[in-house]
């Protein structure tokens, strides 16, 4: 990040004591509450523009093949069809129509090959969406089929069918450039960490444990399905309205594809009906942009719930772990090999591979660590980020494994974790010294919540009971930048221009609280403008629980800048030196009691209610990129997130069904800006991960997903919520965070899956090493253990 200055330490290190805070730590109701309960909140889903056409995507029916021909005549013959757009049309506007955040590998529409069942091949446009849908079925595409590969480990082997002829790193992330030009491989990225000498340590360990853990592919299913609208009124002007978590990135990428400067592309969003990582980077935006420019009418593409499963998913993974342990229960060596099933296009998979991959050995103090993480192309729908950025898959593996070791050694699993936990001041495997990571506190908290010390009734008869815990950690993704503007108007009210997208996490409220705290006004007096690249400055994206820390710091700096200017103006009008003025309650006051409200400051300066005070804040944390050969860095992340989960479950040993009766979460949050909303984030994340643990999985037949609907792909409903559910906040303010607050959106997911598998082992003595823990899988394990295995299906 050459050229970007980090803010002066004095601005970000001062974390006031709790009792000095007026707006931060207050349970302000969400600023958009009334809109949401009256049904009037704005979503792009609802947007209609005059003259708008609806696009319906024609998708590949084969998992891997060359497009031989596309016959659009029958579709064009349907009354009401405006036009059918194919890859050839796209090429008339965009010379190289491949996009993506990490690799430029995904075509706007297929140009030569298709790489998964569902890959977009053409778009039918019509004023009536039903007409577009009907006609889309009539587009005839002929393919020359190629051999596909679906499994991530198989894809990584020599001789596997090759999904992409050559690797094309995007250049957005400079540390991926070295991959350019690699060919003949499905490994899009191999990231490694070497710390000590794992092989030598295995040789001297008393016991060595080795296992493989797997997770299936799952989907975000935001209830507002992905949707984008583009319009172009002038010759070189493009407006994209999109349900996106990353408007700044969309603008950058669409501009690059078109060869336009960024200032000719405007990207705006509204409230998002859920995101969870599905609406990140670039999804439908390039496609609607090209369609709108080709037909000179607004174009909207709304995915159906079924189509969402073909857009973006969460990686299925295979994690191999080997640990060397001494008799006293110290883990002295750990080696991990993680294979990420990235599907047909990289999306942000390589970043997941790299940035989460380096935590695969877990939050433990292990002297000798070797970690390899492979982003693998396959012929399945693409995988990206889903609430946790790969962390839940890794925690699934290392916390199942850690528990297995403890049980095998006859050690208490909580004690075993505490003995090996990575504590502040000790080096992580990347060489970065841990700080402000409450790993021990989180473990102890959930153990206490479960009353771990007390005897536990495991049940008699067919229903067995068990309990389990797990802890995970995550490094905030770096390097990233956030910029904010706080605009104080002539009447003293203000607008906060910030690019953080409120998709339900409550960021509008939290950012208003931070701005209000810094400026000395009430939260309710701050209006947060929704992301619009014509009006809101750059923000990398709303992802990875980064916004509270990064945008929060930028907002605070912007508010402090505005405050400084208001004090300077008041100093002139009051004739009092700036350092003797205070800014609070919407006014600047002197020690003698004289004060000027913000409005009076403007009136004094401009002779009337006029003018603006504009405060700017830019935040880009310090960061040192890792050595690509060893993964070592003195500063791998601006902050660590920690989450622990404890569960009590009931297992019906006759059906294999697991019921979670109690679920407790501990989240290391730094300090909660809005404690009520933070608790909601932890609970919600935990329940979401409960779905991926017990029942969510995409099922494929020859590369075709066969359960892409809420009828066949179950997500948690209200009956799945444990009767006892609670989240605790571990609050130790982070010294460089805004008022000490760290990100919290994902921490609740980390420990859920292994905690439940550990509880299953506790209840029934069986270990299931693949997610989800479906009744069938659990029952098979129980019956195998009892020597009466079920027949293979």
């Amino acid at each position: 990040m050459a050229g970007v200055k980090t803010p002066p330490a004095t601005d970000v290190t001062a974390v006031p004591a709790l009792d000095a805070l007026r707006e931060v730590s207050r349970n302000v109701k969400r600023v958009e509450s009334v809109e949401k309960v009256t049904g009037s909140a704005e979503y792009i889903h609802n947007l209609r523009l005059p003259g708008m056409l609806y696009g319906k995507i024609v998708r590949s029916t084969v998992p891997h093949g060359r497009v031989v021909s596309i016959d659009t005549s029958a579709a064009l013959a349907v009354p009401g069809v405006h036009r059918v757009i194919t890859g050839a049309d796209v090429l008339t506007l965009v010379k190289n129509p491949h996009y993506g955040p990490a690799f430029h590998d995904q075509p706007i529409l297929a140009v030569d090959k298709v790489r998964f069942v569902g890959d977009p091949v053409a778009v039918v446009l019509a004023a009536d969406p039903h007409v577009a849908e009907e006609a889309a079925d009539l587009v005839e595409v002929t393919y020359e089929t190629l051999e596909p590969v679906f499994d991530e480990v198989a894809a990584a082997q020599p001789g596997a069918p090759i999904v992409h002829d050559e690797l094309k790193p995007a250049g957005t992330f400079t540390d991926l450039k070295y991959l350019a030009g690699r060919s003949g491989t499905n490994i899009a990225l191999d990231a490694m960490v070497r710390h000590g000498d794992a092989e030598a340590a295995f040789a001297r360990a008393d016991r060595v444990f080795e296992e493989t853990y797997r997770t299936g592919q799952v989907m975000h299913t935001p209830l507002e399905p992905l949707v984008s609208v583009a319009e172009s009124r002038a010759r070189e002007e493009l407006i994209i309205h999109t349900a996106s978590q990353s408007p700044s990135f969309v603008r950058m990428e669409v501009s690059r594809l078109l060869g336009w400067p960024e200032n000719k592309v405007r990207v705006r969003t509204a409230y998002l009906g859920g995101g969870f990582g599905a609406k990140l980077y670039i999804k439908l935006e390039a496609l609607v942009a090209v369609c709108a420019l080709l037909v000179r009418r607004p174009v909207k593409i709304s995915l159906t719930m079924e189509e969402q499963f073909l857009m973006i998913t969460k990686h299925g993974t295979t994690v191999k772990i080997k640990s060397g342990v001494t008799h006293d229960g110290t883990v002295i060596a750990r080696r991990t090999e993680t294979y990420w099933n990235g599907g047909a296009y990289a999306d942000i998979g390589p970043r997941v591979t790299q940035k989460s991959g380096f935590t695969a050995a877990g939050p433990y103090d292990i002297e000798n660590v070797s970690m390899d993480s492979f982003a693998c192309y396959t012929n399945l729908p693409p995988a990206g980020a889903l609430r946790g950025f790969g962390i839940p898959q890794l925690v699934w593996a290392y916390e199942s494994h850690t528990e297995e070791i403890a049980r095998e050694l006859g050690l208490d699993p909580v004690e075993f974790r505490l003995r090996n936990a990575l504590r502040d001041g000790r080096p992580h495997a990347t060489g970065t010294i841990m700080e402000n990571a409450r790993i021990v506190d989180c473990i102890e908290n959930v153990a206490k919540r479960l009353e771990w010390e007390k005897p536990f009734e495991r049940g008699s008869g067919p229903i067995k009971r068990g309990r389990g815990i797990a802890v995970g950690f995550k490094a905030s993704i770096s390097p990233t930048t956030s910029v904010a503007i706080l605009n104080v108007y002539g009447d003293g009210s203000c607008g906060l221009h910030c690019g953080t997208v409120d998709m339900g996490q409550g960021s509008d409220t939290a950012m208003a609280q931070v701005a209000a705290e810094a400026l000395g006004i009430r939260t309710e007096e701050v209006r947060v403008l929704h992301p619009d690249t014509d009006m809101t400055p750059y923000d990398m994206a709303t992802l990875g629980s980064r916004s509270t820390y990064h945008m929060g710091n930028a907002v605070r700096l912007a508010a402090l800048d505005a405050r400084r200017q208001l004090i300077a103006l008041a100093a002139q009008s009051l004739g009092v030196p700036e350092d003797q003025l205070a800014c609070k309650d919407g006014a600047v006051s002197a020690s003698d009691g004289r004060r000027k409200t913000f409005r009076e400051i403007f009136v004094d300066r401009f002779g009337m209610q006029a003018g603006n005070v504009v405060g700017f804040g830019t935040f880009a944390p310090e960061y040192e990129k890792a050595d690509p050969k060893t993964g070592q860095s003195p500063n791998i992340t601006p902050f660590w997130m920690v989450g622990a989960t404890g569960v009590e479950i009931e297992v019906d040993t006759e059906t294999g069904r697991i019921t979670v009766t109690k679920m407790v979460t501990a989240g290391d949050v730094g300090r909660a800006i809005n404690p009520e909303i933070v608790v909601r984030q932890l609970d919600g994340a935990a329940i979401m991960q409960l779905g991926a643990t017990l029942f969510e999985q995409m099922i494929f037949d020859g590369g075709q997903v066969v359960n892409a609907s809420l009828a066949d792909y179950k997500i948690p409903g209200i009956h799945d919520v444990p009767h006892h559910i609670a989240s605790d906040l571990i609050e130790v303010p982070h010294p460089r965070a805004p008022y000490g607050a760290k990100g919290v959106g994902e921490s609740g997911t980390f420990g859920v899956s292994p905690a439940i598998a550990n509880a299953l082992a506790d209840a029934c003595g069986v270990r299931v090493r693949e997610l989800p823990l479906t009744p069938e899988r659990v029952l098979r394990a129980i019956r195998s253990k009892s020597g009466d295995p079920l027949e293979e299906a």
Partner: protein
């Protein structure tokens, strides 16, 4: 496409209305196309998520599966009819006070189903609440807060006081 449009007449949030609808049009579409009401939203398209819940003749239905032409002669209530523009309905108020939502996309559906629940069970048990709301999905999983919101709404009803809370 064959046309086959017909005119239907029904009562929408207390007002007599008419609309021209095509045979395939569903309730969500007619509310959006003819009346500019976007509180009922199509999400799963299969009547499983509850985002499109509206109340027809006193019964909550999935607007995405209910053909618009079947509305002829009925009384329809949508989330937009709950508030008079100045005051919130007690159920809405309790959802605000108990933070019974996150992204808000499913919220109108939950609120309409809660209205149905409370119309039939003034003092519902937790299991009754879970049963009634089992056809409404919230991917943000605000369920614990939704439960609290509904319990608070039941209590507020018992204590009387309708539309007491000003929107601002």
């Amino acid at each position: 496409m064959a046309d086959g449009r017909r005119t239907i007449r029904f009562t929408l949030n207390g007002t007599a209305v008419a609309a021209d609808v095509a045979p395939h049009e569903n309730v969500v579409e007619v509310l959006q196309n003819a009346f500019d009401l976007y509180g009922a939203r199509e999400s799963c398209g299969q009547g499983l998520c509850g985002c499109c819940t509206v109340v027809v003749d006193g019964t909550a239905v999935s607007g995405c599966l209910f053909l618009a032409s079947s509305l002829d002669g009925t009384t329809v209530e949508t989330v937009e009819g709950l508030s008079d523009g100045k005051n919130l309905d007690p159920v809405q108020r309790c959802f605000v006070e108990n933070s019974g939502f996150q992204c808000g996309f499913c919220t109108p559906g939950f609120i309409m189903m809660t209205k149905q629940l409370l119309a039939e069970h003034a003092d519902p048990s937790e299991e009754q609440i879970r049963d009634y709301l089992s056809g409404n999905l919230c991917r943000c999983a605000a369920y614990p807060d939704i439960l609290r919101s509904v319990q608070a709404a039941a209590k507020a009803r018992a204590g009387g006081g309708d539309r007491v809370n000003a929107i601002s």
